[in-house]
Every structure is written in C-alpha cells, then in structure tokens.
C-alpha cells in the first residue's frame, strides 16, 4: 500500500476561522452580501460549523481496495471495487495519530461528491478524479478496470483527490465533504437532498454548444484557450510516452533471450562456459529490470493525467463564466426591450413589434385604461428586471473576483506540481541509467573472462 506519489501524506493546516468573505465587500444590498458569502464559502448550511474538526491536523488516506459484489439499481449482480478511507487526527503535542473515522466508498460515490462540488462551487477549479477507465495504455498494461495494477493506481489517485480537497481553502470546509469522510450510511441521500442535480445548469454539460457573448472577458477567453492547449499537449505527450514505453519494453525484454540461449550454449563450452552462463544471468536481470522502471513511469504519467483532467475543470469555470455573461446580456437585452416598449406605449409611437400593437392596428385602438394597465405591468416588470440585473451584475463581478483568486491559486499549484513531476522524471531516468551501467558493467566483466 503506497502513499500518493508525492511521498508523504499531505497534512492539512488549520483552516482560517474567519469566513472567507471579503472585508472590502461593496456596500450593496444585504442580498449582495449574502450572495457574496454564499459564493465564497458555499451556502451557509453547506459549510462546516464544526470548526474543531479542522483545528487538529488531519490525515486522510485511502488505504485499501477490495473487490465486492452487490446488486445494482436494476437488481443485477455486479462486481465493483470499494476503497477504505481512513481519517486520523494528529495531536499537536506528541504527533501521534488516532483513527477517528474509517469507511468504505466506491468510485461512483466519489463521482457524486465531485458533481455536487461542481454545482455549489462553480467558481472553484475543482480537483479532478482519477480516470474511470484506463487510457493511454501501452501494450503491457491492461485496460481492465479490475486489473490489480490499475486498481492500485486508482487508489492512489483517489487518495490524492481527497487530499486536494482537504487542502483547498474553500472546499475543505464543505459539510458534504466532511460527511463523505465520516458518515458511511445515508450519505448518498444527504447529497441528493441538497438538490444539487436540480440546481445544475444542464447547459454546462453541452460543452460544444456556443453561446454568443457580446462582451467576453478577455482573461477568461485566454484561460479557455490555455486549457484547450494544455489538454491537447498533455494528451499528445501521454500518447507518445506510451509508445516510447512500449518500445523500451521491447528492447529490454529481447535481451532476456540472450540469457536463455547463453545458458544452453554454455553447456557445450569448456573455457567459455562459465563466462557465458554468468553473462546470461545478467541479461536476465537487465530484461527484468524494465518492469519496475515502467511502473514508476506510470506514476509519472498519472501525475500528468491529473493536470490533463484539471484542464477540464478550468474549462468548466470558464464555461460557467461564459454562461453567466450570456444570461446577463440576455437579461439586459430583455430589460432594454421592455423599457422601449414602455416608452412607445407612453408616447404612442410604435417602433417595436408587439402582438398587441398589431391587433390594435387591425382591430382598432385600445382604450386609455387598457394602455395604462399595460404600462403599469411593464413598469413593474422593468423594476423587477432592474433589480435582477443589478444582482446578476453583482453576482458576475463576485464570481469573476473569486474565480480569478482560485485560478491564481491553481496556477501556482500547477507550476509547482508539474515542475516537481518533471524533476521526478529526470530522477527516474537517472536511476534507470545507473541500473543499466551496473548490469552491463557486470556483463562486460563476464564476457571478458570468457
């Protein structure tokens, strides 16, 4: 059971006690402030009031994976893997950890958690889950979800996911997240009760649909561009890497055949026999060494994959912003058109088309009372519309501010993590070279003694 590739269980520092709302909040309507806090933290009932949970240092680990059989929604038998999540609190003074919670979750529950977070924290770049199915597989790796190596890498990926959540300044305080770690039974129902599925904007799923935004925010456009490029280049890299791994595997393994043949040959040789035999042994060692080397590289590939999937999370935030902007522009447009209608009614000029106007033309003028009534309705709608527009604008600005803060945080994290990953790749290559030098030096000695 290995920990996440970063080598250590990440420890969560105590979260700040003050709400993450902005002290410099604009003195708008009280509704605005409420919206602000809601955006920053999540709705009031979402955040954790039990701050003492986070006061102690928390260690989270996904320590085991187990095959289970059960019945699915259609009452058919299915096999799935369950993962054991253990939470430990570490006492400050003596550094000892005590197990506080442990429960089993399956991949679909992780998915549920993430989908919930996406809905309630749209301005956050939500950490991605490890892949559902094995992709970028090179020939030796199995694409089977039940394959033990895949399950092991997924376990590490899920642990990484939880640690990312726990170290995120906003997401770590979410109650559903807390319950995910602590409440085994009934958790699914609790999540569903939040009604997040209803709240979800179905348009977010339709990633390819374009919504023409008249005044796009340049920063978000650039960010979306970047996320597309990142996704494309990392995919490409992973594909080529898989092919390179395949070839490297071939080179190493073919040498193993020398071992077998040298051994058989040594049987007929007198002086050369010993040298051949022992050289053959080293060829076997060489051929076998590639398995560990490529397994390590697989962890590196997983680190890159995380950021491949992060690119999607980035795009989701951009998308959300785009939709908000679109809704705002639609609302503004609607308001403008209503105002114009009102104006026309008041002044008697008809510039805009309306059904009422047409029928009036055809069937005769309406009475002044009727006109007054219509104006009144429109004025009410306009007033409502103005309120809505104001709050939408505020929402928009807050979104941009908070999103951008999280994006900056994400960028720093990404640069740090990827740089470390690249360095670890170099370390892996160095280790591989050193092993190669050793094996071939040994083989050379055997050959020279023949």
């Amino acid at each position: 059971m290995e920990q996440a590739p970063s080598g250590m269980v990440r420890q969560l520092l105590p979260a700040p006690q003050e709400p993450l709302g902005r002290a410099d909040a604009e003195p708008e309507a009280a509704a605005g402030e409420e919206a602000e806090r809601e955006l920053a933290e999540g709705p009031a009932d979402r955040t954790m009031t039990e701050n003492n949970f986070w006061l102690k240092k928390i260690e989270i680990s996904v320590s085991e994976a187990e095959k289970r059989t059960g019945r699915n929604a259609m009452n058919m038998q299915e096999t799935y893997t369950a993962y054991l999540i253990e939470t430990r609190s570490v006492e400050h003074s003596d550094g000892q950890s005590a197990l506080t919670d442990s429960l089993w979750r399956r991949y679909s529950e992780f998915e549920l958690l993430r989908n919930y977070l996406l809905v309630f924290y749209p301005h956050v770049v939500v950490p991605p889950l490890p892949e559902k199915r094995a992709e970028f597989v090179w020939h030796k790796l199995s694409a089977d979800n039940m394959d033990p190596d895949f399950v092991e890498r997924r376990r590490i990926g899920l642990e990484n996911f939880l640690l990312r959540l726990a170290s995120h300044p906003i997401l770590c305080r979410d109650k559903i997240f807390y319950l995910f770690l602590t409440q085994e039974g009934n958790w699914k129902e609790t999540v569903n009760e939040t009604g997040f599925q209803l709240k979800a904007d179905s348009r977010l799923k339709a990633l390819n649909a374009t919504f023409r935004v008249k005044n796009p925010d340049k920063r978000f456009t650039e960010l979306k561009h970047y996320s597309d490029e990142l996704q494309s280049v990392i995919s490409h890299l992973l594909r080529v890497r898989a092919r390179v791994a395949d070839r490297l595997y071939g080179v190493y393994k073919v040498h193993g055949n020398y071992g077998r043949v040298f051994s058989e040959w040594s049987a007929i040789e007198k002086e050369m026999g010993d040298g051949l035999q022992s050289a053959g042994h080293h060829m076997d060692v060489y051929a076998a060494s590639i398995d560990d080397i490529l397994e390590d590289e697989e962890h590196y590939a997983d680190q890159l994959k995380e950021y491949l999937f992060y690119a999607e999370a980035l795009r989701a935030v951009c998308r959300k912003h785009e939709l908000m902007q679109y809704d705002l522009e639609m609302a503004a447009q609607d308001l403008a058109s209503k105002k114009q209608q009102c104006e026309e009614l008041a002044t008697g000029t008809v510039r805009t088309f309306s059904l009422k106007g047409m029928t009036t033309k055809l069937f005769g003028q309406e009475t002044p009372e009727q006109r007054e009534a219509r104006i009144k309705v429109l004025e009410e709608q306009i007033s409502e519309g103005e309120q809505q527009l104001k709050s939408k604008n505020l929402e928009g600005r807050e979104f941009v501010k908070n999103a951008w803060a999280d994006i900056e945080r994400f960028k720093e994290q990404k640069n740090h993590d990827l740089k470390e990953a690249l360095i670890s790749y170099a370390v892996m290559q160095i280790s591989m070279c050193k092993k190669g030098i050793q094996v071939w030096t040994n083989a050379k000695e055997c050959f020279s003694k023949m």
Binding site: H236, V251, G280
Partner: protein, 442 residues
C-alpha cells in the same frame, strides 16, 4: 537466480526466439549444398561476354604507394601475431558495372606482401562476387576437411528491394574483406596457389586459369556419389568426431538464435529511436503555452534528444561489431557441417572399399592397395580437420568474446552518456530551485 535458467518467457514471441530453427539461417535463400555450384544467371555462360568486353577490365597492374610492406607492419593492427604477418589485403571501392546483359559490382583488392613467391610486393585487382565463389570452391576442393572461411550470402531475399542498395554493398564488402584476411591468416590456406592467383592475376588471366579446373559435369558427378556415400560415413564416425558433430549441431542452433535475437534487438532499438524523435518535440510544443515551466520543459526535451542521439550511436555500434561477427559464425556453422560431411565422405569411400574386399575374391591386391591409399587419405583428412578445429575454436572464442565485450561496452557508454545528460538537467533545476528559494527569503 545464479545459474538458473528462467522458463521461456510468455512474451517469447516478441523476441522471435521461439522454437529453435534447424541449422540454416532463416534470412537467406537456403545455401547451396557445397558439392554443387549454384547455377545462376551470373555464371559461366556469361563469362564469354565479360571476357570480350573491356568494360570490365578495371585491372591495373601498377604497384601502389611506395610504402614497403615492412613499414606497414608497424602501422596496421590485426588479430594474429603482428610480427609474423606478411600478407596484407584490403577490399574496398565497390563499383557498379552496367552492360547490356547485366549489372554487377566489382571490388578493388589491394595486396601488399613481402613474400618471395609473389612476383611483386604490391598488387591491385578488381574482382566480382562470382570470383570469390570460385575461390572458395577451389579451396574446398583442395582442402576438403579444412574449415574454409565463409562467404557472405549471395543475396538476401527477405526485405531486399534490389541487390545493390548501399547498405547491402557495404555489408558485403566488409564480409569479403574479412573472408580474404581469414584465408591469409590461415596457416595452410594462405599458401594456396588459387588464392595467389586470385589476388594477383589480371581479369583475363583469372578467366583462363579458372577454366583449367575439373569441368562442371565431373563436379556434378562427384556430387551424386557424395550424397550417396555420406550416410555410410556417419555410421563409422570415430568418437571424437561424434563429439565434434554434436558440438557443431548445438553451436549452429545457438548461434542462429543469437543472430535472430541480435537482429531483433537492432530493430527494437531502431523503433525506440524513431519514437524518441517525436517525444522531445512534444515538450517544446508544451513549453510554448507555459511561462514558469518553460525552462524545465525545454530542458527535458533537450535531454530526450541527446539520449536519442546516444541510442543512434549504440545502434550503429551494434551493426558494426556484433551483428557481422554473429552472422559470420552463422555461416561458419553451416561451413562446419559441410566439412564434417566431406570428412564422412572420405571415410565412406574407405569403408565401401573395405566392404568390397570382404565380398570380392578377385582383385584383392588392387583393392588392398587402394584401401591403403584411402586409409592414408582418411588419416590425413582427420588430422587436418582436428588441427583446424582446434584453431577454429580458439578463433571463435576470441571473436565471440571480443564482440560481446564490445556490445557491453557500447551499452555502458550509452547509459553513461544518458546519465550525464539527465544529471546536468537535474542540477540546473535544483540550482534554480535554490535560487528561487533564496530570493523568497530576501
């Protein structure tokens, strides 16, 4: 795992090292049985044209550079005792000749010698492949139980578009060079008359000399008898030759496998190199979208490119040293089986006469005399073969040892180069880390 052999890995099919093949190497057309000359378009009926056409006469009888052979002894390195070598041969300058009938390649043979029996100290001639074939045939005729060095195959059927692509010609040239030098180093073969003619005669001289040997038909007659009698010889083979034969059979099997494995390694390394060519540039592409990560990504790309170059060098080394040596010994193993057959044949001749003696009552004196001669012949043949066998084994051990030691050295050097590249990258990254860290503290 010391001394234990792993069971054949499940991925055996990747290595192509599955069921051991029979004696012949898989890649060439099956070698002609040594008793029969290959009848090819190149052969005798075309010699008439080539004799007339002065197109082919590239022979120059001019002595070359004034360096004396003695001074060359100090300059050139070789395998055998350097002080005793007095015959230096090089094969180079392949040239294509196009006539209306055919296209063929000739190679320049330069010989430098201090031997008295040679008319001059330097010779330069041009020879084509069929001339080499002729020479080999003559040597086998004159010394049936000596281990004649192998010639490169006539042509490789598999994977060749045309006979005369550059790689093929170069590989062949090197093998032909080796062939002649091996003969020169052989204590008996080096003094063979046909060998001398081959090295020194002008084209027309060679043609007329060639016609002097036993005709084609008589050679064919020999074949028929040879095939029939060889079986008999096997039954009465003395034990030491049985052992030798067992060795030859196993050796042949193993060396063929090693040839296949080595070729496969070359192929895999080449494929790996091809993929690496794309791998580096992907990182450069990525660096174009990044700010902070640019240097790291570019650094990785550079390391990958350098490792790619090192791989290329390793491949080259493999094709220069290991592959030709292993392949030569594949051909040698076929040669050895032929030598064993010829020995068996000579024995069979004796045995059949001895058998005849037990049944026949007349001509016993004549038979006894013949048997006496044949017994001598058998003894000579056996002794020659034994002596040459020992010599060959020494040579084989030395060549194999040297080739594989070189292989190991190439690999060590390859990994050392790659190590240096990655380590310098790592240092540059961690230095920057430290720089950045110290900046933060300021």
């Amino acid at each position: 795992m010391e001394g234990e052999r792993r069971a054949s890995p499940a991925r055996g099919e990747r290595a192509g090292g599955g069921a051991p093949p029979s004696g012949s190497s898989g890649s060439s057309a099956p070698p002609p049985p040594l008793e029969v000359l290959d009848l090819d378009e190149d052969e005798d009926d075309l010699e008439v044209f080539s004799k007339d056409a002065s197109l082919m006469d590239m022979n120059s009888f001019s002595p070359l550079m004034p360096t004396s052979p003695l001074s060359m002894i100090n300059q050139i390195k070789f395998e055998d005792e350097p002080e005793l070598k007095d015959l230096f041969i090089t094969v180079d300058e392949p040239e294509s000749h196009v006539t209306t009938i055919e296209t063929f390649i000739t190679y320049r043979i330069v010989t430098k010698t201090s031997r008295g029996e040679f008319d001059a100290s330097e010779f330069e001639v041009r020879r084509r492949y069929q001339d080499f074939l002729w020479l080999k045939g003559k040597l086998e005729e004159a010394h049936p139980t000596l281990i004649i060095p192998p010639l490169p195959e006539k042509f490789i059927v598999k994977g060749m578009v045309e006979r005369f692509n550059d790689d093929f010609i170069e590989t062949r040239r090197k093998a032909l060079h080796k062939f002649l030098n091996r003969i020169a180093d052989h204590p008996t073969l080096t003094f063979n008359e046909d060998f001398k003619v081959f090295l020194t005669a002008q084209a027309w001289e060679l043609s007329s000399h060639k016609k002097q040997g036993p005709g084609l038909l008589s050679r064919m007659g020999q074949t028929a008898r040879a095939v029939a009698s060889s079986l008999r010889g096997v039954k009465n083979r003395p034990e030491e030759f049985m052992d030798m034969n067992n060795f030859i059979e196993t050796f042949s099997q193993k060396i063929n496998l090693i040839d296949k494995i080595s070729q496969r390694i070359y192929k895999e390394e080449r494929d790996y190199f091809e993929e690496m060519k794309e791998y580096g540039p992907v990182h450069i592409l990525w660096s174009a979208s990044e700010e902070v990560l640019v240097d790291s990504l570019k650094g990785i790309a550079s390391c990958i490119d350098q490792c790619g170059k090192a791989t290329e060098k390793r491949m080259f080394g493999l094709s220069e040293t290991l592959l030709p040596v292993v392949h030569e010994y594949v051909l040698y193993s076929e040669m050895l089986m032929g030598v064993m057959k010829r020995r068996d044949q000579i024995q069979a001749e004796l045995d059949s006469k001895v058998e005849a003696l037990t049944y026949k009552k007349a001509d016993t004196d004549l038979l006894t005399e013949e048997i006496g001669k044949l017994e001598d012949k058998v003894e000579c043949a056996n002794n020659a073969m034994k002596a040459d066998w020992e010599r060959w084994k020494q040579q084989m051990q030395s060549d194999i040892k040297s080739a594989f030691t070189d292989l190991a050295e190439e690999n060590v050097s390859y990994y050392e180069q790659c190590l240096a590249t990655w380590e310098s990258f790592l240092t540059s990254q961690t230095n920057r880390h430290l720089e950045e860290a110290s900046e933060e503290h300021l």
